[in-house]
Symmetry: C2
Subunit: 560 residues, 2 copies
């Protein structure tokens, strides 16, 4: 038993003040459990970066305490960092069947085969040190999602994971509201609830409504139907198969992640369709157009995705033709609008009819709107509330929502990445911070790209680069070769020869002046740092005056 | 009179398959008139670019024919390219009073003072060569907007400009629907109508509804109120002044373009407020918070805007404090969402209450939705229809809308930039294309940044740069200095010394191998291109294998 002075710590490691890389940890004495292990995608401020994962320095420092990682569902922002984290922290991973199915594929890609994967199902209970975790069925845009009810020595913590309230889910397994009510009856110390859709009034529509829209579209389409959606939305994919079956169309699949998830999901029994419905994309021309449905990735307009390749005529197996109906069954994630619209424009230009966004009811969110959030708050009746999964504006609106339900403002904690909250039976307070934040993955490098490298990349992208090279004699300081000026991304060189010639002359004159500064008329070139700084400053001024541009300037001095 | 064989040409120079840089030209015999002269903002594919303007090669080639430029209103996507175009094409510019007021400011900044500005008002008629242009009052998110009815030798062309149908406009001057009806009665050869909101069903709400929302907000706000909106939306600004007057608040203005437009608009009488309402931002602390309204730029989250500076504590005169209410009276333009949300998050974090988007009725669009477009089509009853101002998806949806009103599909022309349509009294056909497209403005350079420079900037931003420098003896090919390797934006150098050392050794071995390839054992280094190519290829392979990154590699060889 931990000492009387031990408090329960909640450590925020990700998913707060951002959308993505969700991760929190609970600590009691010598036990730590980690909830979710997500990655996020780079934004415009991180050029060249492939993936962003949480900084887990705190977990590494307390390695021996970590009992395991508990996953709420199989989306990238909940499992995407696992391969990177498990290489540093080989602990068991708990999740439902589909979640672990997706995790397995991911670990195989990264050649990780020593991880203990512990399969759980809703209503199961798992004991990890001083924590007892119960899994609660929820609805979300991926099957097999769960919320967590965690009994701790000071009370129960409920974590919703990502959820919506769907009374008519595709798999017939609705969110277990009775369980939330029952846990609430017994008393809950703190609720951690997701905030993605807290800005939206009302209710999120049932996934089933999308099926109805598909049926209308399938009933009217004359040629092929191509549906792009998130690969992991197994219920959406099921509804495409169902509509295809109803209208006697064969289904073919394009896009690596779609092929992958459909494989895993049908193997595990989450996706059901008649044998023989699925055809290989190579066979697509053996069937009449009106008998074909293509399910594809690319609903976010991702430049290398199958749909984007179809739109730009770069898809090897499928050419968009007039008469095709393309359904984009998704909403652009903020930041992706332009990519999605580019694909839509290209598809229209090829003669396809494109159904997207507001033009048809072909997508519903996977996240709870305001009324659903109120339902969960009301059932769980927590003493304290910590909004999670959202930018600051979401957390704030979620705090307003909790207040509107009667929770005292001082019982709501809007936190930050690195924040540590300390609970005992009756209190909650911010007790400090730990090292936390983002780690950038770029190619094989994990964490080797930081602010300096990003700043240089941004600078280079804005106005390009000027390299100044000169070879100088160590003795006497004579210029032996150069100065040469090489530019990239600055101006179109062939049309700017005069400008670059003038720049070269300027550098020459600086070199000569510096050379004359030595004692006894002896040229003195040994303070390279100063000389380089001089070249950089004068050249920057000159180029800015001439062009109002500010390229990166790299002076290189070779001494012989 | 032009010969019988002369046809009317419509030349598309911008605003088609894009949002922005609107410009079309009409040509008959020796007469060309240009409608609008807009700029657009660079997208993610154009790093470092300041502005994009239309390629006017065709107009330059036919300089002597160009009779003038006619403006529909004063937004950047209709007047932004004027300073650049007028430098090459000094022709008179026709526009309404506020439009020319804004143009004058713009020309002054560019030191252009020889342009003849011809002020017109709605219902005026102007003759330019064989064209007679009538200006028709419309409603839009800037005052003094007009549509054009252009009589040509083969019939009337109607161009809507940007518009909405507002029955209760702030200035009391509603769109002149009777005039559209009257022109339609007489017969219209072709309609060019804007397509921005064609995806939206129903009607755009009246600007006046925003005033009601402001009143509710002003009635409830306890501290300062800070409203961000587009500077050019004079009616929106008027409503902020009106609400301020009603609730006895002083108004202060922040942001260069806001100060500028409010100056011009109140000078010209488009903006009316009691003397003494306006205070300088330096006086802001001389008044109690509950007596202050700040009108500011930055509704799109632009990083250097006044609101963004307030949000990041970089504004010199104004610090956001708890109790402030910030109203973002605008919708993010696609692509700007992340910038806007960043500002909102920062403002919330400083304790402000932020009202934005769907959370309050604090913005209406300036563009016609489907029912308004149908109204104009129905009144104008054109023989031919050319959708303008939109990406391809908009043009396509607008074509569908026209078809749904009974127009034959073959009478609708979805065009492209550079397309030339030829009209006579009874026919319309695509007759060819002219040189047209985009010209990039970067600092003082106009058109000197093209695809090569942009490609280099993008490459540099993705994985950075490696410069390899070596000095070699012309005779004998000995390495005299180097090779040195300099990297920027690639890896964090201090942690990658081994990698860069290995790269240096690799380059050395390549240099030595190339050197040995000469005849008679004599080193031969004169094929620099081949040597550089070799270094680039081998180094690229090496670095990709080690890092899965692909930096730009610049080999520089100095010969002495």
């Amino acid at each position: 038993m931990a000492s009387k002075n031990t408090a329960l710590k909640l450590i925020i490691l990700g998913g707060i003040n951002e959308i993505g890389k969700n991760m929190v940890a609970l600590e009691w004495g010598n036990d730590i459990i980690v909830i979710d292990c997500g990655a996020s995608f780079p934004d415009d401020e991180m050029p060249g970066i492939d993936l962003v994962i949480p900084d887990i320095s705190y977990l590494i420092k307390n390695k021996s305490k970590v009992k395991g990682i508990v996953l709420t569902h199989g989306h990238e922002d909940h499992i995407g960092a696992l391969p990177y984290v498990l290489k540093q922290l080989n602990v068991p991973v708990y999740g439902t069947r589909l979640t672990l199915g997706l995790v397995e594929g991911k670990l195989k890609e990264h050649h990780i085969d020593t991880t203990r994967l512990e399969r759980v199902k809703p209503s199961d209970t798992v004991k990890m040190g001083h924590f007892t975790i119960e899994f609660i069925r929820t609805s979300h845009s991926i099957a097999d999602s769960v919320a967590l009810s965690i009994q701790t020595p000071v009370g129960t913590i409920v974590h919703t994971g990502d959820f919506k309230v769907d009374y008519t889910p595709i798999d017939g397994e609705a969110i277990d509201l009775a369980k939330f009510a029952q846990i609430g009856q017994k008393g809950v110390l703190a609720l951690l609830a997701e905030s993605t859709n807290v800005e939206r009034p009302g209710y999120t529509m049932s996934e089933r409504t999308v099926g109805k829209a598909f049926e209308t579209i399938f009933a009217n389409a004359k040629g092929r139907i191509i549906v792009a959606t998130f690969a992991s939305n197994v219920h959406r994919v099921q509804q495409i198969f169902d509509a295809a079956a109803k209208f006697e169309r064969k289904v073919c699949v394009s896009g690596r992640s779609m092929v992958n998830v459909i494989g895993i999901a049908s193997e595990l029994g989450y996706l059901k369709f008649a044998k023989g419905m699925l055809i290989d994309i190579d066979q697509i021309n053996n069937h009449p157009n009106e008998s074909i449905v293509v399910i594809t990735t690319g609903s976010q307009g991702e430049p290398m995705s199958a749909l984007a390749r179809m739109a730009s005529s770069e898809h090897k197996k499928l050419e968009i033709v007039p008469g095709d109906t393309v359904v984009i069954s998704a909403t652009p994630i903020p930041g992706n609008e332009k990519l999605v619209f580019r694909v839509i424009n290209q598809l229209f230009a090829k003669g396809a009819n494109v159904l997207y966004q507001d033009l048809a009811d072909i997508h519903v969110s996977g996240h709870a709107c305001q009324e659903e959030l109120k339902l969960i708050h009301t059932l769980v009746k927590p003493k304290y509330f910590v909004p999670v999964h959202g930018e600051f504006r979401h957390l704030k609106q979620h705090a307003f929502l909790a207040e509107s339900l009667g929770m005292p403002r001082e019982n709501i904690f809007t936190t930050d990445i690195g924040t540590v909250l300390e609970f005992d039976k009756d209190t909650c307070k911010v007790s400090g911070t730990v090292t936390a934040g983002r780690v950038l993955v770029d190619g094989l490098g994990i964490g080797d790209v930081g602010n300096v490298v990003l700043r240089d990349r941004k600078h280079l992208s804005q106005d390009g680069l000027i390299v100044v090279v000169v070879t100088i004699a160590k003795e006497g300081g004579t210029i032996i070769a150069g100065p040469d000026i090489i530019s990239r991304g600055f101006v179109y060189v062939r049309e700017s020869e005069i400008l670059l010639d003038e720049a070269r002359e300027l550098v020459k004159s600086i070199l000569e002046k510096y050379g004359q500064n030595g004692q006894n008329g002896q040229k003195k070139f040994n303070d390279w740092g100063m000389l380089k700084g001089g070249i950089r400053d004068r050249l920057r001024e000159f180029l800015y005056e001439k062009t109002k541009r500010n390229p990166m300037i790299l002076p290189v001095i070779m001494e012989i």
